[in-house]
């Protein structure tokens, strides 16, 4: 029987292999690895399933598995909590799926000029949205961004304690805790149980001159706008600490950008700017600061800058390459590697598609739906919307505890009716047992709202 043919491996053809081996001057490929000791060799052929050598068979197999998924679009989605069912314009997918972008990597400005150019533009548009002068090439996700932002603050202030409010995303917090161990101490500060916002009196008690930074999530995990952020910034600055603001960039067409309430470092996740949810794999982080060496020197990430060329074109390259672990292994600022750069191109296309008016209208569309949903839920038996008095933006807390049913039970009943209910807050916030976080996006329709209200009416009756 002829040797098996592998479409992805051109030189698997025996005649070519023979020619190459002859050129090298060995008899077999085995001769090229003869130094790998015998007791380290795999002593059997890998026991893997029979492959789907033809593409059509592979498609049938993989799609057979994926068909078991019920997507958030096949259902009606009210889940948010850090990942949003936002509309992705067709031209975003068109651009990021172009193989020149999709298959490129680290590159060099001379042959991957387009990548540097596109990323510089992404940085520039994010900087405008955030009202900052510097923004990095995307890192892994918002959690990595905030972890690094806090470590940057520690290096800048020469302190090793950070003050973190309890109303931040628990998933993000867990990754940040891993990242800050063991040398950065986290001091938690409470939120106000009435407003859902950071408790300023508590912060006052928890904030000392050991603090490198105070973190604010805005809107916070309960969806509420931290409208006293400027007061928090003032308190932090008074103690010599920085304000790190974790913001949702899709809200910033409408909401005040973080620099304007005193944030020294802004960070967050760009998933909502043109990325599909991808079961949580559409995330990418950003960090933005002022254009001052004390900030810029502390980024571990790549920063693409603009420069002149000998012929007067726009040229691009890495700013302060020596900061990075690529250049300076053991003296680097944290580390850099393959992160989520492609999503930076996607977010760039998204922001340019929307423009300033589009981003403002997006904010309005989300806000209007949130207010509308809240209004429609008011008066439903067993539902209380008064848990927090703070102003929500795109998601809000619903208290079902008066209904006698758990969030889990309610969500199971909603799912039977084709609805993905809210995030169950009880596990991460025991004081909010019986409460759920409901999110809307610009894709939430009047029918979706009607379906949820009617389903809850039945379930809670």
């Amino acid at each position: 029987m002829a040797k098996k043919m592998f479409p992805y491996i051109p030189n698997s053809e025996e005649k070519i292999q023979r020619e190459m081996l002859d050129f090298i001057g060995v008899n077999s490929i085995e001769d090229l690895i003869s130094d790998i000791p015998e007791d380290m060799r795999m002593n059997h052929k890998m026991a893997l399933p029979e492959p789907y050598c033809d593409e059509s068979g592979l498609v049938r197999h993989v799609n057979g598995i994926l068909a078991k998924n019920k997507t958030a679009k096949e259902l009606i989605c009210f889940l948010g909590a850090g990942c949003y069912n936002r509309y992705v314009p067709a031209l975003v997918d068109e651009v990021v799926n172009r193989s020149e972008f999709l298959t490129a990597y680290a590159g060099e400005p001379y042959e991957d000029h387009g990548r540097f150019h596109a990323m510089f533009e992404y940085q520039s548009m994010m900087a405008e949205l955030l009202d900052m002068d510097v923004c990095n090439v995307p890192n892994y996700d918002g959690a990595q961004a905030v972890g690094t932002a806090l470590r940057m603050a520690c290096r800048i202030t020469h302190r090793n304690e950070v003050v973190v409010p309890k109303n931040i995303n628990p998933d993000t917090l867990r990754a940040v805790q891993t990242y800050l161990q063991p040398d950065v101490k986290i001091t938690f500060t409470d939120y106000n149980p009435k407003t859902g916002r950071i408790c300023l009196d508590c912060l006052k008690k928890n904030l000392t001159e050991n603090a490198a930074a105070v973190l604010v999530m805005n809107p916070n995990f309960f969806g509420i706008i931290e409208e006293r952020a400027q007061d928090i910034a003032d308190m932090a600055h008074e103690k010599g600490a920085l304000l790190v603001a974790y913001v949702e960039p899709s809200t910033l067409g409408l909401l005040t950008p973080p620099s304007q309430y005193g944030a020294d470092i802004a960070c967050g996740d760009i998933q909502a700017l043109g990325m599909h949810m991808n079961y949580g794999g559409g995330v990418a982080g950003f960090i933005a600061t002022k254009d001052e060496p004390r900030f810029v020197d502390e980024y571990p990430s790549r920063l693409f800058g603009i420069a002149p060329t000998s012929e007067g074109e726009w040229g691009f390259g890495d700013v302060l390459w020596e900061r990075t672990s690529f250049a300076n292994r053991d003296h680097a600022k944290e580390f850099v590697g393959t992160h989520a750069a492609l999503w930076g191109i996607a977010a760039g296309v998204y922001l340019a598609s929307m423009g300033p008016q589009g981003m403002k209208e997006l904010g309005e569309a989300v806000l209007q739906r949130q207010v509308c949903l809240k209004k429609n839920l008011a008066g439903l038996k067993g539902v209380s919307l008064d848990k927090f008095s703070g102003t929500p933006f795109q998601e809000f807390v619903v208290d079902f505890s008066a209904s006698g049913k758990t969030v889990k039970e309610i969500n199971a009943a909603l799912l039977e009716r084709g609805i993905l209910g809210g995030y169950d807050l009880g596990a991460a916030f025991p004081e909010l047992e019986g409460c759920a976080l409901l999110a809307v996006t610009e894709q939430t329709s009047a029918d979706d709202i009607k379906a949820l209200v009617s389903a809850l009416g039945e379930i809670l009756a």
């Binding site: 052929k45 993989v62 972008f101 002068d133 949580g280 800058g305 393959t338």
Partner: protein, 523 residues
């Protein structure tokens, strides 16, 4: 016309593409968003709920462009970018540039993956959870290890997961304070050194011995009861397989240390030797390198972690598990876990691509990948060593695994041109060559990794280009000085990247510093 002549006539796309802000026309838009969902609440009424101080006063300064003009702009930029699909990308050594089957992108990009919310109940996510789980099952055989986490978002993130697991392990054993050192090697990836420092470890770097292996005497001297773990890449970035690797793991285990394997360079080892055979406790694999997912200009990626079953309690939460009663599910019940490494559960589309790639190739195909990667590399090596001015690090090794680190030191001494000059010239032939292999322990370095995707003809063409550049360095120095001339851009003034007064990382920073094309603002 032979191939070299053909490549000499190459000219990269050049559109003199403006910065996107220069294309902006007030009032234009590429995409519209929906208006109010219904008339139960007006937009003004909704806006009235916002605290006055939190409403943005001035519109964000974003560009305003109609859809065609915007698509054209990005198409121009993509054309000014080569990527694997456009060139022979073997000059990006250590990164395993290879063909990424189109079907994998199609499978991972469809709504059944793209439209999944990570917090959906497990029962609605059985398909994607099954792909995660089954990918782990495949890696049991590929690595010889027992448990897996797909959470890390790239290779360095995989190293972060390993270092975090090491810390959680020693904390659990009550020795976190005592075990505060990690040992790595000079030719391991930079992350193997930089990441443990972030995790609070003192890092010792073992230099190579004369043969290019990590110096075992230096290693013995560095090992102690304080050693928490060793982080070794194998083969190292030189392409040399450390034949004494089991001796290193034996010595480390004798001191009680954990052994962490960086398998970023695994492309030449599939079906030949594994993490388990080298007696490592943990390793990570780059699904976006060896396992056929494209690199996307630098991610999204996956640095999957694999470990022995004894280390399962320390892995990041959640793990994907299966039981006949529950089906596939996310298991958060790991009280000793190192915590979370990344938001949610990992980069699902990359896992789908890797799963599809492995399932398309099977055991024979995976082994053929490594066999051909090794063949290609050694063929390429022989061709490069015939080029005037080129040499290889540690020449006593007659063969290498999947890549090799070379040097243009002789070229530099004889012509004054080094690796950065060769890099500029490569752009004129439509091929890629990565100049960074710092620190420059090997002078004027370059690393070539042909992988299995490139044909004999590709390698002949690429090495012919290097030979031609060498000839130019010796015979046409003026041409080399002015390269690139066929690229999208000409010589970039790198002085602008290290001086705070000159660098501009955003368009607004540029406008603040300069009045026009890099004319400094006065005052």
């Amino acid at each position: 016309m032979n191939n070299l002549e053909r490549m000499k006539k190459f000219h990269q796309a050049k559109w003199n593409e403006p910065i996107i802000y220069e294309l902006s026309t007030p009032g234009e838009r590429a995409v519209l968003v929906p208006g109010p969902c219904c008339d139960c609440v007006s937009t003004d009424e909704a806006l009235g709920t916002l605290p006055a101080g939190m409403v943005r006063k001035e519109r964000a300064n974003l560009p305003e462009i109609a859809q065609l003009q915007l698509v054209r702009h990005y198409n121009h930029l993509s054309q000014e970018n080569i990527g694997v699909d456009g060139n022979i990308d073997i000059g990006q050594g250590t990164c395993t540039m290879k063909y990424n089957p189109k079907i994998n992108d199609r499978l991972a990009g469809q709504p059944k993956v793209a439209d999944m919310h990570p917090l959906q109940p497990d029962e609605t996510a059985q398909g994607i959870l099954e792909v995660f789980y089954k990918t782990g099952e495949l890696f049991k055989e590929i690595s010889g290890l027992d448990v897996f986490s797909m959470q890390p978002g790239g290779g360095s993130h995989g190293v972060l997961a390993l270092a975090s697991i090491v810390r959680a392990y020693w904390r659990d054993k009550g020795e976190e304070d005592k075990r505060d050192e990690i040992i790595t090697t000079l030719f391991s990836h930079p992350a193997d050194c930089a990441v443990p420092i972030v995790k609070g470890y003192k890092v010792t770097i073992i230099p190579p011995d004369e043969e290019g292996y990590p110096d075992i005497e230096a290693f013995k001297a560095a090992l102690s009861d304080r050693t928490a773990a060793i982080f070794f890449t194998n083969p190292e970035d030189t392409g040399i397989f450390n034949v004494r690797i089991k001796e290193f793991t034996r010595l480390a285990h004798e001191k009680g240390a954990l052994c962490c394997y960086d398998q970023a360079n695994a492309n030449g080892l599939l079906g030949i030797t594994r993490t388990a055979e080298a007696n490592f406790d943990m390793s990570f694999f780059n699904l976006h390198k060896t396992f056929g997912a494209p690199h996307g200009c630098g991610g999204p990626a996956t640095g999957m972690v694999a470990a022995r079953k004894e280390l399962r309690p320390y892995l990041p939460v959640p793990l994907v598990e299966y039981s006949p009663e529950k089906g596939y599910y996310l298991d958060f019940d790991l009280p000793k876990s190192c915590g979370k490494i990344k938001s949610f559960w990992g980069v699902a589309p990359v896992v789908v691509k890797a799963y599809s790639w492995i399932m398309a190739l099977g055991a024979d195909g995976l082994r053929e990948v490594s066999r051909v990667a090794i063949l290609n590399n050694n063929y390429c090596m022989k061709k490069i060593l015939a080029i005037r001015g080129a040499s290889i690090s540690f020449p006593n090794h007659p063969s290498r695994i999947e890549q090799a680190r070379y040097s243009w030191q002789q070229l530099k001494e004889e012509t004054g041109f080094g690796t950065a000059d060769v890099q500029r010239c490569c752009a004129d032939f439509g091929t890629h060559y990565w100049s960074s292999h710092e620190p420059f322990v090997i002078p004027e370095p370059f690393t070539i990794e042909p992988s299995e995707s490139y044909s004999k003809q590709d390698i002949d063409d690429y090495t012919a280009v290097l030979a031609e550049i060498s000839r130019m360095c010796y015979e046409e120095p003026e041409a080399v000085k002015h390269a690139p001339v066929n690229s999208t851009v000409h010589h970039i003034d790198h002085d602008y990247f290290d001086d705070p007064a000159k660098y501009a990382i955003t368009w607004r920073a540029y406008n603040k510093k300069y009045t026009g094309y890099f004319e400094p603002k006065k005052g």
